[in-house]
Amino acid sequence: MLTKVLSAAHFGLKTIPIEVEVNIAKKGFPGFSIIGLPNKAVEEAKERVKTALANSGFDFPQAKVIINLAPADLPKEGSCYDLPIAVGILRCMGEIKLPEEKSFFYGELSLDGGLRHTKGAFLLAIAAKDEGIKKIFIPLDSANEAAVVKGVSVFPIKSLKELIFHLNDLALIDKLKLSKPKIVLKGVKAEFDLSEIMGQEQAKRALEIAAAGGHNLFLQGPPGAGKTMLARALPGILPSLNEEESLEVTKIYSVTGNIPPGGSLITNRPFRTAHHTVSRVGLIGGGSQPHPGEISLAHHGVLFLDELPEFSRSTLEALRQPMEDGMINISRSAGSAQFPSQFMLVAAANPCPCGFLGDYKKVCRCSPRQINRYQSKLSGPLMDRIDLHLNVPAVGVGKLMVSEKKKKGLEKSSVVRKRVAQARKRQNHRFAKTKGVFVNANMRNKQVNKFCPLSLMVQRLLKSAVANYRLSARAYFRLIKISRTIADLGGEKEITEAHLAESLQYRMRIEE
């Protein structure tokens, strides 16, 4: 007897419906085979399904069982086919009846017949909506994710037995209603509060500008000055994701299995750090079946690269194109996939191998050649894409040993966060009708011309700055974007000379 059960496969962020065809033949030598380009995880579904059925009180049929995952030419991976295979076999055995409407079955089986959290549930629900499929049966732990999508009935399943009772109308499972549409995920929390950081007022200001406009930031300074501390304080001043951003980020986190069991929407802004030994595929994404890398996991959030010159050259250069485009196209023989990558790059580095070049206390003991070699690890094109360049000097002991009263006077992250949120709100308002643009840093040149008109005085200052510092065309547009953010932080409509002047000081360092 032949049964067809619907499930889905993910390729990149695309979801393709998969028909799981189950045939139990009366003739032929008993066996169990899965065809349709399964990978190892799908192949192993055999043992899981067999045992789960046995532990749910069913004998596995002594017959030739063939599972075909159609379309057959698309490689299948993951453990999500356990449930549709089990359901198909039970239907063939005549133990259950299938729902009349088209429904998705999706999930990994545990040996005891229970269902486990399976990645990609959110994308499945979106696909169901697009394909006009009304019902999805999904593990309880993954159901919250799927229930975010409106217009699809999500049935959370604890065990195979429960599902069998439901399908036979013996004990119905209630479809999931998400009482709170959003569940804030734990995870990214700032390690440091801005008020814990002594001194570094200029750096704190630059951090605030970067957070407000989503600008890339480069911190340079001697060891121990607080570069890493500053970067790690950043999550504390970033506002949470808005609805549209949240959906995009949740998609990526769902397909990579980064949403914990029971979680639904991601509302915290991602903060990803990558060690300098990260591979190019790990950072950019890739693999024979394209998987998102760190830059996509940092979408709408922060990617922090500490010790930037230690990263391999090819890894850093690979960042150039996705930084500019806000998305990455990964093409492999299996097909090509697109992942969004509108991240904010925060990088930290020492100025030279010993770290004390330009320090006022210690003497640098590097030779000019060493310094040259160290600094040439960071290519011009990459540095040109970074909007805010910042020197983080060592903090004097006078600033470290301050009275408790003065310490209390330091601005808390939560206060800064409010200002940043205000500035982001203004930007959201401005870009409400512009698709794909959320913050000033995302603006294309066309939008810069449209949204950032410059007064004559500002134009004159800009002209002389470009001429004096020989700024590139890209730097020209980036300058205007930073000025726009500074104006947004100040709550002003027009960009003034003061805004431009402030943005220029973050640019000057590399143009010397």
Partner: protein, 123 residues
Amino acid sequence: MKQFNYQKGRVGEEAAKNYLTKKGFKIIASNFHTRFGEIDLIMIDNGVLVFVEVKAKTGENFGSPEEMITSKKVIRVKNMAKVFIQKNQVLARKHPCWRLDAVCLVLNKNQEVERIRHYENLV
């Protein structure tokens, strides 16, 4: 224990032989073995040379005999069949077609056959 398994195998092979003979198969050889493996029964069915793998189990509590015939086992029998054909070329020329069959038996505690099933043409 070994002795017991051997006896069980003999009982199974005997039962399989009788079962197939009743079906009209003609016996050529039994327990053909070299140092690479063994073929339990070699028979002729309608002019086709049939190599039979017999699998007997006492009770089905630890899995069915069908499960014990893995793809590895099938490959081994297939290789042995080729060896047999090499060695008996006269016979092989007379019967150019050949196939692999399996007979699966479940025995009860008294070594009596509880069920017997014949599967034609393993692939």
